[in-house]
Symmetry: C5
Subunit: 361 residues, 5 copies
């Protein structure tokens, strides 16, 4: 029998919202990717102009604030909280925002401030078949967008290229449209993750329907349940965020961007519906597995019953003529042994016919 | 034992809302039916006048816009995006709309613009027992209706005939009423699909209740689950669409059409309720299947238990008198063998009576 | 083993809302009870006056419209659509209403028009243990009430007698109160149907708890599920109807009738709650059945295990002394055979005691 | 095996809201406790004054209406409808109220009238382990409270004593506070009933976890389900009642009483939450029972498997040497028999070790 | 087989909201921790000043009320109701509040009064693996905060230290901020409890996936269910409390504190979502356990079937040649015995091969 491989249990962890017993507003990094350096990826553009460079010096970012161009400052690495604070203070971010930027367990939300919007959301990606969150914060001001990531991701890379090569309408419009394209990339990312999950579900279904036995199926289903719950935890609050974004009455968001945000809202709803459908399907897998097990047991039982029901009576008959009674007339018949075989064969085929009729064979 | 036929797993696929990393508003076809040519089916009518013809030349459609008649332009085939764009630009459709027309994974929705309404919905049909979506978009302007389909369908054919033969009030009223009849045909189509599904559910129930064994039942139930989820994905958002359509305060929709839309809303609610009822019934099938399996196993176990319980003690008795002890008085009795048979028969019928009393026979 | 009786599967059918491909507003009968004649049952009354007669001539109904009395025209039989149309036209009913009157698959609803209210609801009754709908429409004008039924029912008979004998306050008040009493009779009818269902549930529960085996229980539960879903389909929308009726701001409904409608609303809510409770109970029956099956299997297994566990070792022992080894000292012992029996009995009771201690006996 | 005791099935009965085919507003008693006499328990009090007496003469109650004191008239026994009517008419109660007072199947509700409030609710109590409703109606006027019960209960007895001995603030405040204390006693009563239910659930859980077999557990769980549904039917609508009571803008309720009603609302919400929690726990019991059954079957199967797997091969070996072949060299070995035993013991312990390793022993 | 350890059943108890039959507003302690003495922990602070001391003399608390500093009076021990009353009267707390402070079964709520806010909530902690509530009440006035606990807890200890050492902005702001930090500590406490629960769930999952048998798993799952229900009972109403707190329009709460409360609301929603996710996971454990049991039974059955199916036919064959027929030619063959063994081995491996092909081995 197959030995059970024991996978590392993968539980949706609950982490404290901030290091215990710290005063609210204290900026403490709670994630695990401790890249000691903070890397900045700064893009400054207008319809004619495009400049991009990377730096590890926070202060280089300060020059771009006042330019009339749109500036996108992407910060990779949140573990160096001092950098975050100095950047945050430069852009006059509220202490609670600074705290949320490094609190990797903060759920998706949107906060309106007078001069900027603050949005928290989660990027999802599969590392080695394991689903992970990446905590991302976005600050959108009049002519800048700040994004904060735990580690250098590649989801925004295409966006940067689109900016660089001036494709699309992206270069002619304001920071609000940039924010929209970033959120759009995130929702696109959810579709990719769901597609990946969809493949996993299909593979598991195939496993269930083939005869090959796999004692880990229960674990696999449980893991899928956790993954879908994890995805839901990222997606459901983002829907609310985008819904509120659509309704915000802020001078920061131009009229023409609203149509795009409404479109984005359609897409996040679509993600939500898919998540719900996968949830139902994954939950249903357990029932399917149960019937599969029961079906197999049924088959096992039938083999046992057929074997036992056929040979137990025959053995009994053989036992009869193995007795040592002095007076057993059948034993002395000339063709007794052959009569016995005839009876045997009769019983054998009679029982076979019976099981055939019962459709067990 | 029956070998298991393996059907192609049929998963509700999640597809990206647009080709990855394209800027929003980029018109890219995401469907699979790549008919290279775009076919137009143009109907121009008023109460006295009726004209219909098919063409593959997009520009022929442009002549009808200004006529005082109602013009219905039905576009078959979305893969040639250039045609869609040129038609879209002629009718001054927003780039996002042009994108949605060819994004076959767009969920049903309604968008209001100043000069037209834009509605996306799904047609459902069974091809070879497999449920498929067809993505349809509708643009309703002051005196024209545009519909966009992936492939030439036959759902609207009756509608066209009704138009041609002037049956009903359809020829005397505006484009809003034409839009209503198109949506009405779609909801009628859902009823047909549900009827088909209803037959499948009934067939499966019959299968469950008859003794014939079918190892594919689990898969069949799972497939039904997916189909009902797929239908729900098309029907539920359409309900919202029609609800909003009822409430729209647009000059495009005349007062007298509102009554019909309210009627349509009643029908889509009815479809929704039926979908929910089928969902519950399909989910219940799994439970039924489990009890069926358990019942069968019970029967198998009973046969085994009866056979074993009757013949094991008898075999034991035969075994006793097959022993070779020197001093076994019974063996030397004159009628020992016949006494033995008498005891045998007694035990046999005693056990039969016991199982009879237990109602196992 | 009992042979399985196969009942006709009873599925909640989905029917098209109208004959396919007809223009909306086309009056086409969709029911099955095709009584070719339309029968009218006309009651004309005021506090002093009472007149009642039956006729098959539609035109006789036209005389009563202008009388200052309250007129109740009950129409039995909807298959003769011409009669319905001529009556409808006489009372100036909107074409959509005329369509709904004969569309037996129309769900319960209320429509307000300037001169009348239009209400659709369902009567439920058990024919031969099968639950059926009857589609009923009601039009309430200033001093008349029209009701349309598929076949002559007996639910309103008591109401007519109450009218005739002038019992209650019914004769002194307007058409709105008549409408209320009709709806009240319908809700009363739901209570009767639920009582009937309650008896069926109780009978099934009794079946489950008694030992008698019945392979049809799964089907019976499934049928109950369908019936409760059917009832819900009639009751839930009627609740909304009465709720809206309570809130309607129409000159057709007098102030004093409102209190009665509020009372009616209380009752329909009560029906709803009962429906939900029965639903939960019926759903729970499946679980109960599963445990019953499992309990029975447990019992079967125990009998098998006890029989096999006792006699298999004993048979083995007998087998030992049936061997033909030349040198088996026990065989030559004087009391060997008796010692053997002693050992046998010891083992037998030892195992009995073991199973006793395990509480299997 | 234990014989199954069959308890009387205890179904949540649905009763008609009024005797069928009676005109609405007809006062007909629908309960079962037919005490022919109606007993009145009259309390008349102010801060200085207290008078209490019992009577069977309805007219004695009429004297108290005009006194400036607060009068509480408690009516026991609803079967004598004439008494109810004469009392109702004296206090000018609407006919629908009079009907509701004696309609024991009326669900909890509140009706506002100009001069009084009318509240219906349910008292719950266990008689012989069976949960029963008592239908109670309350009319609260400017300086009187009327309560109507089916039979003399003892829930209000403590309240009367508190009134008599002038404990608490109860004697100094108006009829609205008296109504509040009565409702408060009812909610307290629900807590008691839930505590009783809680004990039953705990007992059943203990039964499930002990090995003692009890074939009635399924029934017990089903009965608990019905009880909790019954409680919910009383509690859920009362929450709405108290919620509406809190929001009523009536001169009958003084400002200072509002705080107490809000408190009462907190408590009824707490009852509701507990009901929901018990519901989930009771529903979970069925699952627990299933696993218990399956665990037991597992154990039974193991015993069978171990016994059969050990002795069947041994019996086979003994069978070999019981054969009568002429040439079987082993039979003639000097220590053949002992070698055989050695092999036997080897196989025996080998299998034991195998089952040990599998952790079945 | 393992004997079942019986743990004390741990039921979510429903307790009466107040000692029965007491008038509302009566201050009666309902908890179990009867520390006869009431201990006060008084902190008086402003930005420059900090004073802290403990006392058992209630009257010492009265001096601080009028100081311009912020005063936090924490009361440990609620069993001495006289102390509570005298303190309550000094701060002019409404009798209902005084009752709620000592009613340990009061659910979380918020009450607004003119001069203070009153909040009830629950602290959760694990004592010996058992989850317990601690009932805490908070009164927030213009420049004081009162907290009432059943026993001296340590959750607020860190808060006091933060106050003492002047860390954070806590010393410069008003009583409303102090209230916020207390509530914040409570929500932090919920995160800790959930983390603990998360570990228990993970441990149980590991147990389920390892082969080691543990008959207590059903109980463990049931206990987890109760714990999560208990947590939910504390957390869900607190969400409403904080939601209402956010919306309160009171002069007691300063503008700048609102941002912090909104932050707190985010966190309590996060707790809620985690609770729901754990609930689903715990509920799913039962299904997992069922499949585990069924899988094990499947394995047991296979061993039995393989053993029986192989040796029963072989035993039958041996039985044949153990018969005593006079004329059995095979017995007299020279190599009959060896032929027999050959046949035996053939059957043996044939069956092995059969089971191998069926993937049972």
């Amino acid at each position: 029998m197959a030995t059970r491989r024991r996978k590392k249990p993968q539980t949706a962890k609950i982490k404290p919202k901030r290091a215990r017993n710290l005063s609210p507003g204290t900026v403490t990094y709670t994630g695990k990717k401790t890249t000691t350096v903070t890397e900045l990826d700064i893009i400054d553009y207008s319809s004619e102009h495009f400049q991009r460079f990377k730096t590890k010096n926070i202060e280089e970012a300060f020059n771009y604030e006042d330019s009339t161009n749109i500036t996108w400052i992407n910060v990779n690495g949140l573990s160096n909280t001092e950098d975050i604070i100095s950047l945050g203070n430069h852009f006059e971010l509220h202490p609670l925002i600074q705290e949320d930027i490094v609190s990797t367990y903060q759920r998706p939300k949107i906060d309106e401030y007078e001069d900027y919007l603050f949005i928290v959301f989660k990027m999802l990606h599969y590392d080695d078949e394991k689903l992970n969150y990446e905590h991302i914060s976005l600050v959108m001001g009049k002519d800048y967008v700040l994004t904060f990531q735990e580690a250098e991701g590649d989801v925004f890379e295409d966006l940067r290229e689109r900016l660089e090569h001036g494709k699309g309408r992206i270069r002619n419009v304001g920071a609000d449209y940039l924010m929209f394209t970033i959120l759009d990339a995130v929702v696109d990312n959810y579709f990719t993750v769901l597609e990946f999950l969809s493949n996993k579900v299909e593979l598991l279904e195939d496993k269930l329907f083939t005869d090959k036995e796999d004692p880990n199926i229960t674990e696999d289903i449980q893991d899928l349940k956790k993954e879908i719950l994890k995805i839901r935890k990222a997606v459901v609050p983002l829907r609310e965020v985008i819904n509120r974004l659509e309704k915000i009455d802020s001078t920061l968001i131009e009229e023409r961007t609203n149509k795009y945000i409404r479109d984005l809202y359609d897409h996040i709803i679509q993600v939500n519906e898919s998540v719900e459908i996968y949830r139902e399907m994954i939950w249903g897998l357990m029932d399917m597995y149960m019937t599969t097990i029961s079906n197999k047991m049924n088959e096992v039982m039938k083999v046992l019953t057929i074997m036992a029901s056929i040979f137990i009576p025959l053995t009994f008959m053989a036992g009869i003529y193995g007795m040592n009674f002095e007076h057993m007339p059948e034993l002395h018949l000339r063709y007794g042994y052959y009569y016995f075989w005839a009876a045997m064969i009769l019983v054998f085929f009679g029982l076979l016919w019976y099981f055939k009729r019962k459709k067990w064979l």
